[in-house]
Subunit: 598 residues, 2 copies
């Protein structure tokens, strides 16, 4: 239909002219003389010749005339043949998509992931990205056609003598389509003599009968698909460095082997190609599925979803690192976590709640571990006897994700590992999780860790290098990359963390780790307003300051049961599960202090 | 365990003293004289008396002494009994929760929604809100215990003569617990003689054997549960008006019938009680389930979830109504919709994507239809032949939600309707949806609508009253509250809307309506950069302005197939499905120009 027809930003290769056939060199004939016209007899200027010589000359002329006649006949025949060819019997079978150019109504619409024996010999329709086209001689073109999810197939168009369904012009036109254009193709599914290398569908190929250009890519891509699929090593946000790198990238269209990989900035400047790379599609699939598994598990455990606000009236978790904005005649803040709101849900009569949504940190950290906007998977629940009930749910939830993602995204995980190789992520069976107290972790670090950590203390929070060193020790000792540190020191936790009644130097709070990096923080919260206010004062905070007062008041409105929870950073879970070099690669649109686009 | 023990914000009723039994009035004996001590003979001061009289007096004295002895005996007996009683044999069975006070290990942990015949006669543990307590005489107390999801049961504690498991002190103490405290109760499930009125579990009751206070509510609630469950009529954000209303509310603790309902502001100031109301819990359940159904349907149709950013570097949909904030050395904006990013996903090789997340409008509209932050359910997909493919998905998705929510949340819908009565929401069978063109809608309004709409035009967008009037006409004519207006005039749509090639005065764009109110807007987008840039110029926008250039550039990076989508406002779907008086009631934490808390 007409309204579906895109116009082409880049002028498509000119169609073969319809009336004037392209000039084909005429077959070689004696110079200057046109066949059919007898050549004048040589020496005609009044010369006397013998009868014998005349006869001989006549025979010769006859012979030449005959030769010329034959040549003319051949030329005419060839000219006719050429005329037929340049008429282009295939002209309805290719070109820019238009209402007049239609795929056969009986073609089966196909997706590459579903292709099978039942399609062999059938006429199918495929809508796909043309990722490569290569002529072989003048009559044959090979293309690679790609669909979402890294599915690709080889297509072949071969011109037949009669030029239908494929003519030489059509083959040539297909060969001239720019990579990453979107095409609509009709063809017959066939089995190649040998499996096709370089396509994920290797046991079938497509014998193209029609090919229409739906949306053209530019002649020169900002980043090729192959470049987009290479590992990134430069995650710097420094624009100067990036612009140099980018120039290098722009020049590297021809894709020789061993060319340096593009920087993250180049990827983001070429977001379309970045996202088209099978690598990024695999990461996106894994991420979406992990989020789904998180929701699945918590729903199965009686948790109810809710939506905390992003715009808040007070910075309840402290004024540092919070984004502020003018809000009509007031000031608003962007939520740093849904903590406050999860607790209102519990106070408001919910037993178990969870949320998945954006949280914001105005932290000027330019590291591969930080972003200013990321996705929090948060949960909060009533505690019956002991806060380890919460820890059980958090650990089991993550184990559920790890166990199931291996099955649901085996192909995608393998693809990511082919670009970013890494050791298998180790995790225990349910019920066999490794839980150390913070003090036990510090002890392990002191006794078995690197020299520089011989003096770590039980009452000070860990640094990133300490966490990573402990992660390596835990892997060696317990055979897992996933574990918990419990009973964090009081000094390392915010005012709402419940102290351990048996030892007020530590709290009923924990962090969960993957490969030595924190992915979840949580604990029991103080649910009694008197205890909470006292604790706030002890921490040196004014209990009547904005945000704090509203927080404490929640527990004064009505009796609130004991509760606890945790917040999981989805970006980190994805990144560290795959051992990606940066959390930015796991985000759909990473936000850093220097980067807000695209 | 000790670390689970909450301290009580409000001093609990004093426990019965353990050593000194409460003084009980001694039984009446002759004034001043103590039994057992013979009264001195009257007239002892040297008076002469006859022997007969003396004998008579002696007999009388003996009789009185005997009487006094018996009284003393009785008094001693009663004193002993009282002492036993005031020793309080039940003292381990009630009081603030503490490590020493434990529910029997063999008590079955129960949730009211699961209670059944198999529990009758069994000892169970219930953790619940005490929503009401009422003494009957000195020995008996009735309570209503509530769990999440509007489940409530009657509990009875009756003091036995021996004071165990329930003593008079215990009954009295239970009767003094403030409503909306959280309690842990042990009891035996029994069948009442007649069904209990006023509790949702009416065929069972709980004979309480233990009752511990886990978290106390204040003596005076800011808003009672009954008030929280009443329909709201005042949604004004004007603070002055609210503070008056609030005062009225604060005085209305005793809950006489006919008291005016609280305003929305009072509800939000008492968010804990607002959320505890069965009404709000039902609305929250319906909302969460609708969101789940949305995801379920789109996943089943091959859509992949992604997460658009909230922080963006340019206001791509125009500068009006956008929140701006300082972002390190730049300025950032809060996304008004994920439109730009949905399209990047399609350009980036996805066939079908969806998202669920917050969107922001800095619109100073104080109406029951507007919020500054709300939840967008967005989708975008490749178009094969015709943009109505997109409309099919959107309509079928909403029909899937309407069909399934009736089954999954029948109880919750009934509860909401009991507070906010409304006509049944009518919707068609799949494949029988009502689709009018915008022009057809205007014609219907001109020909059959109210007098004031006789002159509505086909080239001007509709006003809210026009939309509502049309909704009523469609309900009458087609028997549905859910329908679509297609082919909106070009003037009413943004620059990225694809014109109808057959009639460029209109676009391939549509709105979906519920009860005459828009809940979804969408259409086909221009996917060709040349066409897009021309259209942007026609609309009088500079194609090189910030945000616009980046947008057009996406389509220049590589060929992008035809695509379209739509954005559904979840808050509106919930509110109009239930016919709530304001969209604010459907939100978890409504954000308005004047309201950022809680």
């Amino acid at each position: 239909m007409a309204d579906q027809q895109p116009t082409n930003p880049v002028p498509p290769p000119a169609e073969a002219p319809k009336t004037e056939p392209a000039a084909t060199p005429a077959p070689a004939v004696p110079d200057g003389t046109l066949a059919g016209t007898p050549a004048p007899a040589p020496g005609g200027e009044g010369a006397t010749i013998s009868k014998k010589a005349a006869k001989k000359a006549e025979a010769k002329a006859k012979k030449e005339a005959e030769k010329a006649r034959r040549a003319a006949e051949l030329a005419a025949k060839q000219a006719a043949a050429n005329a037929a060819q340049s008429e282009d019997n295939a002209k309805e079978n290719y070109g820019p998509e238009s209402p007049e150019k239609q795929i056969s109504p009986d073609a089966i619409e196909i997706h590459l992931k579903d292709i099978g024996e039942e399609h062999v010999g059938k006429t199918v329709e495929l809508r796909a990205w043309l990722q490569n086209a290569r002529m072989q001689g003048a009559k044959m073109v090979f293309v690679e056609l790609r669909e979402e999810g890294n599915w690709s197939i080889q297509g072949i168009a071969t011109a037949s003598p009669e030029g239908n369904p494929v003519s030489r012009q059509m083959a040539k036109w297909i060969g001239s389509i720019n990579p990453e254009s979107f095409v609509v193709v009709e063809g017959t599914v066939a089995k190649p003599a040998v499996p096709v290398k370089g396509c994920t569908v290797s046991n079938y190929e497509l014998h193209i009968t029609k090919c229409y250009l739906h949306a053209a890519a530019p002649a020169m891509l900002g980043m090729t698909l192959a470049a987009a699929n290479r590992p990134i090593t430069n995650f710097s946000d420094e624009e100067q460095q990036a612009s140099v790198e980018q120039k290098v990238e722009k020049l590297s269209i021809s894709e020789p082997a061993g060319i340096p990989a593009a920087s993250m900035l180049t990827h983001l400047d070429n977001i379309v190609m970045h996202k088209r790379s099978p690598l990024q599609q695999a990461i996106a699939d894994i991420r979406a599925e992990m989020k789904q598994l998180y929701r699945e598990y918590l729903r199965s455990q009686g948790f109810k979803e809710f939506e905390p606000p992003c715009l808040i009236g007070a910075a309840s978790e402290g004024g540092a690192n919070v984004f502020r904005l003018p809000y009509f005649d007031k000031e608003a803040y962007l939520a740093q976590s849904p903590q406050f709101y999860k607790q209102i849900e519990i106070a408001g009569g919910r037993k178990r709640v969870f949320s998945c949504g954006p949280v914001f940190r105005a932290e000027n950290s330019n590291t591969p571990r930080h972003m200013t906007e990321f996705t929090g998977l948060d949960m909060e629940m009533e505690i019956k006897k002991d806060y380890h009930e919460v820890l059980d749910v958090l650990e089991n939830c993550l184990l559920y994700i790890f166990r199931n993602i291996k099955e649901r995204c085996a192909k995608e995980i393998a693809l990511v590992r082919s670009v970013y190789p890494c050791e298998e992520f180790l995790f225990p069976e349910p019920g066999k999780t490794v839980r150390l107290t913070f003090a036990e972790g510090q002890k392990l670090l002191r006794e078995e860790g690197p020299e520089e950590f011989r003096n770590v203390r039980d009452d000070e929070d860990m640094t990133t290098p300490q966490e990573k060193a402990l992660g390596a020790l835990v892997r060696k000792k317990y055979g897992t990359d996933f574990y918990t540190l419990d009973k964090f020191p009081e000094s390392a936790r915010p005012f709402y963390a419940k102290e351990d009644p048996a030892n007020p130097k530590v709290t009923n709070a924990y962090d969960l780790f993957m490969r030595g990096q924190e992915i979840c923080s949580g604990g029991q919260r103080i649910n009694d307003p008197v205890e909470l206010e006292a604790r706030i004062r002890t921490k040196g905070i004014d209990p009547n300051s904005p945000g704090i007062k509203e927080y404490v008041d929640i527990f004064r409105q009505a009796g609130v049961p004991a509760h606890g929870g945790g917040g999981i950073g989805l970006d980190r879970v994805v990144a560290w599960y795959l051992n990606l070099p940066s959390v930015h690669l796991a985000a759909y649109y990473p936000r850093t202090p220097k980067r807000l686009l695209p």
